[in-house]
């Protein structure tokens, strides 16, 4: 259904500057509206699947994603929300709004969204982007979360550097710095973490005020 919609929109031959961006925005909006899905990263290759585990001071989650094309992914996420003492499943989707590839870099902008299967009063939406070379990495995200208890916003920035440039199949290492804030605590937390990946496996580990921040990804 979504693919058909995208074909319809991209087949419109209207000569308006930046129409491609508007088409993508319209399609992304309809994707979220029609599928009631939303949120998360990463988008994989066409036909690729991703399993993620994430835990931090506020929550733990298990996520499965499937990417029909490299432009978007759909999936589900089980969340154990320790802050609000809540358990629920989110339906999530991410749409790659724009990507720019050069020989030495890649830049991405994503739209994300999610909705709880427990109640439609719990949903989230936002934008995130990243830019990376083999040596440098930077990203940002801005996510608005709406719950029965409270509405809040999460901001996050990351900077990273690879201390060495590994070859294909090597273990790749990134030394990262993360800054994040939500409007519940309204305080920025800045802490370092390490990102390691090899083959289809990636793990990020950091610690802030005795709380572990761990993100584990398998892609296949």
């Amino acid at each position: 259904m979504n693919k058909q919609l995208y074909v319809v929109f991209t087949s419109l031959n209207v000569n308006i500057p930046y129409m491609g961006i508007y088409k993508n925005l319209i399609f992304a909006t309809m994707l979220f509206m029609l599928s009631d899905l939303a949120q998360s990263r990463p988008v994989s290759w066409a036909g690729g699947s991703t399993i993620m585990y994430r835990t931090n001071s506020m929550m733990s989650s298990y996520t499965f994603h499937y990417s029909p094309t490299y432009k978007y992914s759909i999936g589900a996420e089980y969340v154990n929300d320790r802050y609000f003492n809540n358990h629920f499943i989110n339906l999530r989707s991410t749409y790659l709004l724009d990507r720019h590839n050069t020989k030495i870099s890649q830049r991405n902008i994503y739209l994300t969204g999610g909705i709880s299967t427990k109640t439609n009063q719990d949903f989230s939406y936002g934008i995130h982007g990243d830019w990376e070379t083999r040596r440098l990495f930077s990203s940002f995200s801005l996510i608005n979360k709406h719950t029965k208890e409270k509405d809040y916003t999460e901001n996050e920035f990351q900077l990273g550097v690879a201390p060495y440039l590994g070859k294909y199949d090597d273990i790749h290492t990134w030394v990262m710095l993360k800054a994040k804030k939500n409007t519940i605590n309204n305080n920025w937390e800045i802490y370092p973490f390490i990102k390691l990946f090899q083959g289809d496996f990636l793990i990020e580990v950091g610690s802030k005020n005795s709380h572990w921040d761990v993100h584990f990804i398998i892609r296949y």
């Binding site: 988008v43 994989s44 290759w45 066409a46 036909g47 690729g48 094309t69 490299y70 790659l96 724009d98 990507r99 720019h100 590839n101 050069t102 020989k103 030495i104 870099s105 890649q106 830049r107 830019w131 990376e132 070379t133 083999r134 440098l136 930077s138 940002f140 920035f157 900077l159 440039l165 590994g166 070859k167 294909y168 199949d169 090597d170 790749h172 800054a179 920025w188 800045i190 990946f197 090899q198 083959g199 289809d200 990636l202 892609r219």
Partner: protein, 140 residues
């Protein structure tokens, strides 16, 4: 904290600007092909920019194949290249795949009878989110 945020934004914007200028690939076009090479065939591999040592290592266990060396934009990490390899290996005509992250090139060993279609190769790379921008064919 605001100073850190400002520094982060300045760093990001200046880095993106500098790198995209050095990459020289236009304004956000996903299918940027400004550096496409002309197809070339060689039996000794002497007319390619691909390092001979790396080429020899890749072909050490191969014989009677044609090697397509593809220039790729956006292949900046191991994770990025993983899907390319997976998709290429679903083609029975592909004997071996090699990835050079440092050069931004992918080597594909095809059976000698295979007709290489660069449009098809470009689509495979695009389905993984990268752009194939040029290629050279070498026969061994």
């Amino acid at each position: 904290m605001n100073k850190i945020l400002v520094m982060f934004m300045v760093f990001t914007v200046s880095s993106v600007s500098a790198m995209e200028k050095s990459g020289g690939h236009g304004h956000g076009s996903h299918n940027d092909e400004s550096h496409q090479h002309s197809a070339d065939e060689s039996v000794n591999g002497s007319d390619t920019a691909f390092p001979e040592k790396m080429f020899s290592e890749f072909t050490s266990d191969l014989a009677n194949v044609q090697i397509v060396i593809v220039d790729v934009n956006g292949m900046v990490c191991d994770f990025c290249a993983r899907g390319i390899e997976k998709v290429l290996y679903t083609d029975d005509a592909v004997k071996k795949v090699g990835v050079s992250l440092e050069l931004g090139k992918v080597l594909i060993a095809y059976a000698p009878s295979t007709k290489v279609d660069f449009e098809e190769i470009k689509n495979i790379f695009l389905s993984n989110g990268q752009n194939a921008t040029g290629y050279i064919i070498k026969k061994i």
